[in-house]
Symmetry: D2
Subunit: 342 residues, 4 copies
């Protein structure tokens, strides 16, 4: 069996990572790569290391849609994929933000414009695999989570579900490598500006807050709001979410550890750390996550951490993980990369 | 007028930064540099760029104490400076952690051993210059703040003093460049381990918590406890403290901005940012701090930030700022370095 | 078929890369990992990402030698492997420098001490695969080339063989990422020293010169001496050799390009660049090499370049490539890693 | 005495470094900063750390030319400054490449277009201070050397003048931090592309070759051609030139060392290293150069090195050094910055 796959947005970083992962995938085979700015150019020019796409030229999104790929991995900019995928075949994993929110009003609030296809939103499943595995497996449309939400939710959702942290006052301090800004980059992302520098950005207004709150609300069974502060860190890849929340009355370290253990016991891609704490480098280039939780008994606060590769579990890795489920393949198929050390 | 100065711990990073700053100081002149591991070796071997110490050889701490330097900058490891400085002359700025806490019990709690000279603690002034300028100016013994506390306190103390944030539930998420670990470094601090990596460490138990709580308690007029999570970031210099706290009832962004404006109106080394947010690179090699505050109206939380150079305002810069005050010199004397761009 | 493999020096960087590669190898299975400083400790403590060694504990070198692994990958420090491997089974790929030189006198000259087992040298094949494929395939003992020699030889040997460059006056300016210094590292290799820094080292006396000259002599059919200057570059992985030599009388760019094309036409791991020039990042984590050559008609000089990953084609990757040949496996087995972008 | 100075191209990296240096200069005072893309905007927006320009707004180049600044530091793009400066006042130091070559034909050859003002070239002095100090002091027009030529010439010129290296076959392998590409940067200079990467570029055709050959020809008293290979290194600042040349017949290490010692004996900004080798970090942010030379007796080759900060001695630092001479000021005025350690 070979399943034909197409990548939309194939010139961006997430698109590149999709191609890199799919190169080694036992079942998916890339038959088309769309990059609007490079239509007609050989894919090998952009990716000389990837033999699997050496025979392809970049095409337009429209050409892919008119083709017969059985799965589309869409990594288009915000706003570009809504309404793009008509009903029925092929299956789609959308790595962009257009289909992650159930509520079109929330979309409008956070993205600053009305959603173009609000009626379609209910047909999409939010693909944080560990929490929606069953729905993903049955879905034709999966909205792949954002990188920050993936990390924050992996750290927090099990604790909230288990009633171990208070619903009010959850704080997420997140840090991302520079590839999180995309290949376009721009001012502040040139080497000389980003190197040897560290700063917060988009404080109080980052679009990923909507996703985090939607899913934590689901986990808690009551409305959740979080404060969220993202930071830019001088490294290529990696996201670390450092979360703080108030413990509920009788919470102990043992309770917290058990909640993670239970949530992730059989998860192939989540590593629970005990004595150790998450480190982004240990996950770089992979679909793995590292999570840890600490009870600060002096303050009654719970400190929960998750690290991922923003382009791996935070984007292309999780997209392939979801696609595997959508086609009934082994969940880890093609996701065998091991992180470089050093 | 030339004031003779000696540096203890002159082979460490803070010692190096002291020598670098003092090289250009108009009044202080380094007459001795102690480094126990290098006694007898020429200082120029370690610091070929510094003409002012080219004629010196490293000596022992004891030799410095027996000498006649008018001011000692002590940057010795924890535990090495307590009880070292007898009453009277010379003046001392201690960059280490031995004399920062008023309460010997707190010292024992956080450092895991009794303080060797508890009766001496009351003779030391905690030298976060902006909050203790008057005491520093009159002091003979100044305990220079830790790097993390300097950043956290600059961000939080004015807001707490002004009653704009709740005393409970203050959280500090701090990030430091690798030089914060000192020159000794060790496992995890080699280039290949630290580069392209990011991780929290010392969660719930970092010694700097004691200082932060001591000073915030002072600012609030009631006992304060904070949760504190430090992180290691792949860059040489820079600390960013990203703080979150619950706003008190009627707090507005205007209130928060006013509190910073009032606190730092005439401060030569604190820059309040409005539209912008702190960036560590803009302070690298200087004694400056950048602070900013944002009200997150959705969650009622206050997000306060401060960035410094951990070796500048977080160590050697502030030490010289304090020494300037102790000798009645212009507070900014010798602190004219401008950050490199890029 | 599964072939049992053991790694000696499994706690070093090359050892780590061997384990990482072998994790995904279809035929070799790691049955023992020796690390003298960690005997008895679980391998998973050092390599939590590697499932294939999760059941192992580190053992001593002696225990491995007494065992029944069919192939040994030895990555021990200089001087530690000479005389270690008795005749006969198992097969050995030695990644260290003890068996690379044919001539014990050369060893003594460059390493500063007599070779302990000079009579054994003739039983070792120098494993720069592209130039010694046939001997490697028939060998039981392969001396894996050094990282610098691999790069320098890939750039120069075909040009010298083809008579396109003069034998006199060959110069190699080489640059390495910090992992080239090994995990031990030491002074100058801590993050703060190596970061934002660049310097030559070991000028005129680097041990790798001996290998380069031995193999270039072979390629030229007459004695070759090269000047060689290595540099330390602030990145984890990657080596670039930038070579300069005088062109022989009628040499043209076309001749040079043809020589590379002919030498590497069917090579699975050597990519010849034409318009482009080698970049280390494009090879990171892989066994690939990029080579390019330019004729500087103004000066009559030939500028030849090769980039590799010092731990990949420069160490563990090439070791596995050689081992594949030694066992009659497909040469690229287990070497399918694609470089991260970004 | 205060001398009014204007900076043209004040939004680029060299312009920024000029403003940073001049901030602390005892005699020059910046009265105008021209940046065509930012006319009318406050300079403080771009340079919040620089108090000395806080009162200025960016102006046009024309406005500066019509003004009365006594010295112009011009850091405009190639081609933008030729013909711009009419005869007479004010004095000009041009950091760009338009006026460095004596011979307009050479300009055309290397820059690919005719020089717009060939007759003006003779009125410019090539400002590599150490070799043209007297002419600079008497000049009204100084063409500040390129960054690569500064390093290459500091390493090679004294050896060539002294007849210790052969005129034929000189090779320069140069490495630059990313700021050498200027603030505009562009593809390949974003953080994710440049980080953890290393590559040669512009092989055989870099414009700086013309300058290097012009000055080495002067030093040798006969026509010199060099092969030159620049590289991009993942760090913000710093250039290292690693040069190789054939020793003349009787050359010894002692001869080479003496030549450097003699050439730089009284130089305030050139540090000759003996046991040590140049490191870029030790010069970062300063006007210093480190030089070293080694005789490789095995090959008869001379290996000569020079490291500088490409924005310091390689641009803005040397420009101020030259301007100091042009106004009869102490040569080191305003150039007292010490490198950060770490």
């Amino acid at each position: 069996m070979t399943i034909s796959a197409a990548v939309l947005g194939a010139s961006g970083f997430a698109g590149a990572e999709l191609l890199r992962i799919l190169e080694a995938h036992p079942e998916f085979s890339v038959t088309a790569a769309a990059a609007s700015s490079q239509v007609g150019k050989p894919v090998a020019g952009a990716y000389p290391s990837l033999a699997s796409v050496a025979h392809l030229s970049f095409v337009s999104v429209q050409e892919v849609l008119a083709g017969d790929a059985e799965i589309l991995f869409s990594s288009l900019p915000h706003n570009a994929s809504m309404g793009l995928f008509a009903d029925g075949r092929p299956k789609v994993v959308d790595l962009g933000g257009d289909h992650r929110l159930d509520d079109a009003a929330q979309y409008e609030k956070w993205f600053g414009e009305p959603h173009a296809s609000p009626e379609s939103l209910s047909s999409w499943v939010y693909g944080l695999t560990e929490f929606h595995r069953k729905e993903v497996a049955e879905a034709d449309r999966v909205a792949n989570p954002g990188c920050y939400p993936t990390a924050a939710l992996l750290a927090l959702a099990p604790l909230l579900s288990a009633g171990l942290i208070e619903a009010d006052g959850i704080h997420v301090d997140a840090k991302s490598g520079v590839s999180g800004a995309g290949r376009a980059g721009g001012e502040g992302f040139d080497f000389c500006s980003a190197n040897e520098n560290l700063s917060p950005y988009a404080v109080t207004g980052h679009k990923h807050i909507a996703e985090i709150e939607q899913e934590l609300t689901l986990a808690a069974g009551r409305p959740i709001r979080v404060s969220f502060v993202p930071h830019l860190v001088p490294m290529n890849r990696g996201i670390l979410a450092s979360c703080a929340a108030q413990a509920t009355a009788a919470t102990t370290q043992a309770d917290l550890s058990s909640a993670l253990a239970e949530a992730y016991r059989d998860e192939p891609f989540v590593r629970i750390l005990d004595g150790d704490l998450p480190r982004t480098k240990r996950l770089s280039g992979t679909n793995f996550a590292e999570v840890a939780v600490r009870f600060d008994s002096r303050t009654g606060r719970v400190l929960a951490f998750a690290a991922i590769d923003n382009l791996g579990k935070g984007a292309a890795g999780q997209a392939v993980q979801n696609a595997n489920l959508m086609f009934g393949l082994p969940e880890a198929a093609g996701l065998g990369d091991r992180p470089l050390l050093p």
